[in-house]
């Protein structure tokens, strides 16, 4: 008998990074690594589940910048070059290690795996990753939803309401463009909610979103069913609360599954370990060592001494963890079910890139959890739309402002390291609203292009990733440079618009480089 439901959500997002001015650009590899290590392995495992007739449901949010990059011809051409280079390295490694009993099985594994990924990408997907998501969506296995236009952190953008509305409405338009219909749900960037956001979501047809548990449990009133059932906000949008137990089991650095000593170590990589002259063709052309994805060691322990990665030991551990995860969900659901008038739902959202990129064995873990659920038949996986159809009657509460960041609030995106960006973002939004409102009837093609590009520059500057990276001291230089570049571009565009003295070739370059949302109309910022 089914006692309740597990609702897994994978949030897929990367900031829009495109550098046509460089043949090789390190930050573009964020996308290439995610495709190779997360997106394609997850799709391969979904295909396997379908072939084995294992019932599963997965909710996957696709942030618009990611959809734009996955559909960008130039970036996908660069990706193929990246993939071929990795295959070439794996082949060289198989040759180099042919007498090494510890590492040869791994080198051969990488060679086979990368070739499998290449044939899946070019063959099954026809070089179109989104096609894979559409396929599983059409089969009813995958509920694909959207996130905000450029993953703006909405509570800190709401100083200008148009900025929030644009983030939501362009996300919906973008989704319709890629999937042929509006999204049912939206992943709020960083799970960040503020009072009144539900009205804007409702305005654009969003039926549900996700909250951190704090957002629900500090709501008014405290929801009767805790995080084990969705609630409605006053605007009638459903909010699903993140379950802290299942989150911690996967997210926690120390107690979470990904930190198990049998699993592959992320940081020990051939790009850093091997002889410079040998690895040179596979690292940055300026000689900077980078990750290659070829990794030979397991986590082993907390010290720097690492032992060889063993594929079989890791695979055994995946099964052990999947069984444990499943049994924990069953225990959780069995405990809660008698207390409430329905079958509870456990909502487990994670970053998609955690599965495969950061946690190499993650896609196999997910596959195994679905197998366990299918075989034991005590719980079932479900999507938010299915659950809401099953239980359309829910309590109404006012969720609390919250995010899934440190302490559940906004600190990560607003602190001494990044607070300088907000005065610019707010000024740009106010200025654009002013110009857009005065130009609703504009027919001059060049002026329309200027206004559209201003909108793109603002949207790209609003990405929550930049503030996050400045805080965490990762890629701080790049994130600051990107923010400053968008601010500078915006101000130049405003100047050209006001003076009529337009540098058309520079405008063309901005349009080519920051090419997000070809369909975009600046009037999304107009006060009409």
């Amino acid at each position: 008998m089914i006692r309740g439901y597990w609702l897994p959500v994978l949030h897929s997002h990367l900031p829009f990074v495109k550098h046509p001015e460089h043949e090789y650009f390190l930050e573009e590899h964020w996308l290439f690594e995610a495709i190779t290590e997360s997106y394609i392995p997850l799709l391969i495992n979904m295909k396997q589940l379908v072939e084995e007739e294992i019932e599963f449901r997965l909710t996957l949010s696709l942030a618009p910048p990611l959809m734009e990059m996955l559909s960008d011809k130039q970036l996908m051409e660069k990706y193929e070059i990246y993939l071929y280079s990795r295959i070439q390295l794996a082949e060289l490694e198989s040759e180099r290690l042919k007498k090494d009993t510890d590492f040869l099985p791994l080198a051969l594994f990488y060679k086979e795996r990368l070739n499998q990924i290449k044939s899946f990408f070019t063959g099954v997907l026809n070089s179109d990753i989104l096609q894979g998501y559409r396929h599983f969506r059409d089969l009813g296995k995958l509920e694909v939803i959207t996130s905000c236009a450029t993953h703006g952190f909405l509570p800190l953008l709401k100083v200008n309401q148009k900025a929030v509305e644009a983030q939501v409405s362009l996300a919906v338009d973008s989704f319709i463009g890629y999937f042929g219909g509006p999204p049912e749900g939206m992943w709020l960037p960083e799970c960040a909610y503020y009072e009144g956001l539900d009205r804007i979501l409702n305005m654009y047809g969003i039926r549900y979103f996700f909250l951190d548990s704090e957002g629900l449990m500090s709501g008014d009133p405290v929801p009767r069913y805790s995080v084990y059932a969705p609630v409605y906000t006053a605007a009638g949008v459903a909010a699903f609360g993140r379950d802290p137990l299942s989150s911690k089991q996967v997210w926690s650095t120390h107690d979470g599954y990904p930190g198990d000593y049998q699993y592959r170590d992320f940081y020990r990589d051939a790009g850093y370990d091997l002889d410079f002259d040998y690895i040179k063709p596979f690292i940055s052309p300026d000689g900077t060592r980078v990750f290659t994805g070829i990794k030979y060691y397991r986590i082993t322990g907390r010290s720097d001494a690492k032992e060889p990665y063993n594929l079989q030991d890791a695979a055994d551990k995946v099964i052990e963890h999947a069984v444990h995860f499943h049994d924990e969900r069953v225990a959780q659901i069995k405990t809660v079910a008698p207390m409430i008038d329905r079958q509870p739902v456990v909502v487990s959202p994670y970053d998609a890139e955690l599965f495969g990129h950061w946690w190499f064995e993650g896609p196999d873990f997910l596959y195994r959890v679905f197998r366990e659920i299918h075989e034991k038949k005590e719980i079932r996986s479900i999507t938010p739309s299915e659950y809401l159809k099953l239980y359309p009657e829910n309590q109404v509460i006012a969720p609390s402002p919250s995010s899934w960041g440190y302490r559940g609030y906004y600190d990560v995106w607003l602190n001494e390291d990044n607070d300088w960006i907000y005065r610019h973002l707010h000024y740009m939004a106010d200025r654009l609203e002013e110009l857009a409102s005065a130009s609703v009837q504009e027919t001059d093609t060049l002026k329309i292009r200027l206004l559209n590009q201003m909108t793109r520059e603002l949207l790209l500057a609003q990405s929550s990733d930049w503030a996050f990276l400045m805080s965490t001291n990762t890629a701080r230089e790049y994130s600051s440079a990107r923010t400053k570049e968008h601010i500078k571009n915006f101000n130049r565009l405003v100047e050209w618009f006001s003076s009529g003295n337009i540098d058309v070739s520079e405008l063309e370059w901005m349009e080519r480089k920051h090419s997000i949302f070809a369909f975009l109309d600046f009037r999304v910022f107009a006060d009409r």
Binding site: P155, L156, V159, Y194, E195, R207, S213, E214, L216, M217, S218, G219, D220, P221, V222, P223, R224, Y225, S226, V227, Y228, Y232, G236, A238, P244, L245, K248, Q249, E328, A331, Q332, T335, V336, M339, I340, D341, L388, P392, E393, N394, Q395, V396, I397, A398, S400, P401, S402, R407, G408, Y409, Y410, D411, L414, N415, D419, Y422, R423
Partner: protein, 151 residues
Amino acid sequence: MPVNSDTSFVYWEVTDRLLRGNIRKLKSGSVQLMIKVFGEDANQEICSFETKDKIGKSYISYKPPLIPLIAEIGISNGKGFVGLLKSKSAYSPSPVKGSRERKAEVWMTSTAEGREMFSIPFNERYMSGAEIMEYYRRIKISHAASLFSRT
């Protein structure tokens, strides 16, 4: 702008032109820029401080239970204050949990046909969210502690 349950952030930029036009409204004394923070509803001053910076920022410590805050920048000569600009209001995330009173609850049915809101009395048969959490505390199922780590 809200940062967390006890911190808000305010930034400002004042032009010389705006200052010049207003300084003469204060008839005497040396004039200083001043930031004041109010609770929007109560119109109650929460804090104020002087600043020499025409372009500046500050983090303000205050525990507002979801009271919308408003900051105002102005000039002061120690006796009088002339306001120049007010910020938009900001709600901070609240550390105070919502009501746990056993009162009637509002529920909603939402289907393709439409939405209907209705009120139901508190039902003793079912546990409230807070009670579910308390139950977890008592039975201590594995990992349950993490459920309460931030509550």
